[in-house]
Symmetry: C2
Subunit: 387 residues, 2 copies
Amino acid sequence: MGTLGELAYESQERYREFYGSANFQFAAPPYLFTLESGKKIGPININYETYGQLSPEGDNVILIAHALTGSARVGPAKETAGRSEPGWWEPLIGPGKAFDTEKYFIVCANVLGGCYGSTGPASIDPLTGNPYGLRFPVVTIRDMVRVQRELLRYLGVRRLLAVVGGSMGGMQALEWAVTYPKMMKGVISIAATGRFSPQGIAYNKAARKAIMNDPEWLNGRYYGRKFPVYGLSLARMIGMITYKSSEIMEKRFGRKLQERDCDLYAFRQRFAVESYLDYQGEKLVKRFDPNTYLYLTKAMDLHDLGRGYPSYRAALRRIATPVFLLGISSDILFYPEEVRGMAVDLRRSAVEATYDELKSPHGHDAFLIEFEKLTDYIREKLTYLEQ
Amino acid sequence: MGTLGELAYESQERYREFYGSANFQFAAPPYLFTLESGKKIGPININYETYGQLSPEGDNVILIAHALTGSARVGPAKETAGRSEPGWWEPLIGPGKAFDTEKYFIVCANVLGGCYGSTGPASIDPLTGNPYGLRFPVVTIRDMVRVQRELLRYLGVRRLLAVVGGSMGGMQALEWAVTYPKMMKGVISIAATGRFSPQGIAYNKAARKAIMNDPEWLNGRYYGRKFPVYGLSLARMIGMITYKSSEIMEKRFGRKLQERDCDLYAFRQRFAVESYLDYQGEKLVKRFDPNTYLYLTKAMDLHDLGRGYPSYRAALRRIATPVFLLGISSDILFYPEEVRGMAVDLRRSAVEATYDELKSPHGHDAFLIEFEKLTDYIREKLTYLEQ
């Protein structure tokens, strides 16, 4: 991993180019965008992708929100794009698929604070001419949603059939329902809840610490130098453990050893599960900005639908559309009981809410793996909303 | 945390002095001790404490094994010791307590590889005259047990009423039952299983990575310099998350904020749960050697009762005494179902085994917290063994 730092930097430059295909810029100075914190920021660039066509009635729009390390590239690779990498929900998007592009107009945007083309800590701070780094303001899930609202306005979209997302994307879907209750017909939130748990915050804390402990992090001013790749890699490992289940690790790795050239008792011997984590860590550093990891985990930690309202319940009572919650049976980051509990809270707040459970051994990551089951579920819920 | 490195070093020197009160040295060169790996090591110093008196019949001995960051100091502070710090199971040990010192002779030894007086990576390697560091051989739970056997021989103990431990201590108790099946009347293993899970290995992997990523770690050669305190502190945070439950974090911290001098949106704002993790990290670095953390987590990862036997079942079939397993209802490191599953495996291997569940919201740490419930449980099992 000697030159991984430089490799990571190059790869990220490539990613930024690649994801720069469709952009919307707003909040150009002096008309800045006011964040939930009261801080102002601008210009804001939002990288987005669309699939399908907007109907003349404008009633076929689905907004999909991505998770922590996702991007606007949710569907199949576009022919116009320089690279052909398929998106993170590619098997769900296309003609005849769950998100049928012959029926729906799909919009997905890289979140504010992200590193896939939208304004984030790696962007140039107009006040200094240098990348923001830690001068970037703390953003919230609500800020992400409010920025998406601006993008939809620009695209001529006035109402949504649905907002859909998993994990951090599910948080955004729920925040949409609270912030703009009249704009959509319904919300599908997968493996997410209305406020992040202290255990989730704890995992994120450890991940951030991993990055900030890295001497290459330089208080966030590493742009143009080596990236804090060891720190980000460890952060990813910690996250990855919470995205899997004990069951799937048992099945996939058990107690298998990795190294063939040394015995069980060598200090450098690794179990297969360790090698897997190393691999996942090394993979992420090639495509992700460490400061974005800090800001987006912080946004997750701050996720609380009730903030700014008299109470959590008061916020839920604002919701005017059905909310479909999907828990994952083996999820250890958003326990299914927690997601089920949110459905109860919603119903008690007079919101039409359903709870379903995706039976899967894959843990939290099931929302990126169980495409057949997701197809059935999403199709059913969208059909309901279209009636 | 500017001078925490030096502070940690000083504190650890103090700890070593303090815990050096009762020692047993063996395997003095050229008669070295052969480890499970085939590597030889010596001399080995084992720091230990005893409570109560050995009966003339020698039938009242209980060996207690400590967990990852524990020490030989399991019971009340000794009057002879320079410091009065009570041990990690202090409320369970004394006249009339679960481990009644008027009846039993209690022995607890710091494990091989430890940093509380027993030989470990911080000890002087006789071949170089310098601390071992990474030259220290990988040791296993079985090696720890075999070294405890030598200590008991030295103390004139030929048989044990029971071997008892929680977590890594429970692993040792089980290994005792397999390695020396005829030496004890029974085993109490709390929140442990017969082989460590890949998920457990994954957490340990991340913790080790945290230490080894620290530039002060210097490939293990930090003795006499600054300790890799940021790395160890992060390792502890990761561990600490797995020792607690989501439920107890919700109860204790919820989404409370810590810093009063900055708002919710300051990058340096922390939730109370983050502050708790920071505190736990800083506390451990004052008392623990980072290399020992590497070696003991490695020993846990290697824990597999079946190693060296035709099969896991074959190893279990060696056990000739009752095995009492206690799971913790909210444990996320050793899931109660896993511990219960081990009881099933034992019974299928013709071993007398019981499974009980400690109902507690405290997660894995319940074995260091729920003293009343533990007292009842341990008393019941010891009474059974005495019959």
